[in-house]
Subunit: 145 residues, 2 copies
């Protein structure tokens, strides 16, 4: 089933599958996009703010997106134009992440008929139930033809 | 030179190097983290909202981080806990991105002496000067010992 604007309402919740990330993946992502000691070197990371290897927040965000693509069946795809993001805790090697998304608002466009915006709040948790990311985004939604 | 809290002031601007991204990189990133037709299939992408292949916003964000790590010499590293992000235009195959970051605020922590928060606004532009991402983040800063 694909969800159109009319199918979405505040309070609807979508749960994702899971994604497990290991130290090698954390280091590989960070070497490419966020090459800082606490993301790429297990020993050096111990002496930093993170006190151990931590995934780049952008890696957590990318994994969250992967889980959203598999769990938010929005017609036309998950297309976001603006977002707020916080990382209350880092993702650590061996963590298994899961995302729960809640529809907060659904607003038809005033200028573009057949189109609207949904505000969706996605919490990413690790296997201990700790929140590693809160991501609130405005996502494009389409009305049924 | 590393920048400590005392070295940072509103209005300071940091310019990054550049990063060029091609279609193969866009598709590879998206297959791993954002596998939607407009990010992974040049032909199918033509029929979508993006009217052609577009990088995942998370790919633009990751490239921006890579450029920030090379251009924001903050003591202890670039560590963000919260951010707002918008993607006014997508990154396209062949685009060359560059980031300009401006210090907006610097606030010493009330509870943790020797530490503070800087608000930094980073605009990512393509080779045409078009803004593909605006990223405003709260970044950890350390006072000089």
């Amino acid at each position: 089933m694909e969800f159109f604007m009319e199918d979405l309402a505040p309070g609807m919740v979508f749960g994702s599958g899971t994604y497990t990330v290991d130290a090698a993946q954390i280091i590989a992502f960070a070497k490419e996009y966020d090459p800082q000691p606490f993301h790429i070197d297990e020993d050096e990371a111990k002496t930093t703010f993170f006190a151990g290897l931590a995934a780049s927040g952008w890696h957590t965000a990318a994994i969250t997106m992967k889980l959203l693509v598999g769990s938010l069946p929005i017609a036309g795809g998950v297309i976001g134009g603006a977002a707020e993001i916080t990382w209350p805790k880092p993702t650590r090697p061996g963590d298994t992440l899961q995302v729960t998304s809640e529809v907060m608002e659904v607003t038809p466009s005033r200028s573009k008929p057949g189109r609207g915006m949904a505000v969706i709040r996605s919490e990413t948790r690790n296997q201990h139930g700790e929140v590693v990311q809160v991501f609130t985004s405005k996502v494009l939604v389409q009305a049924r033809a």
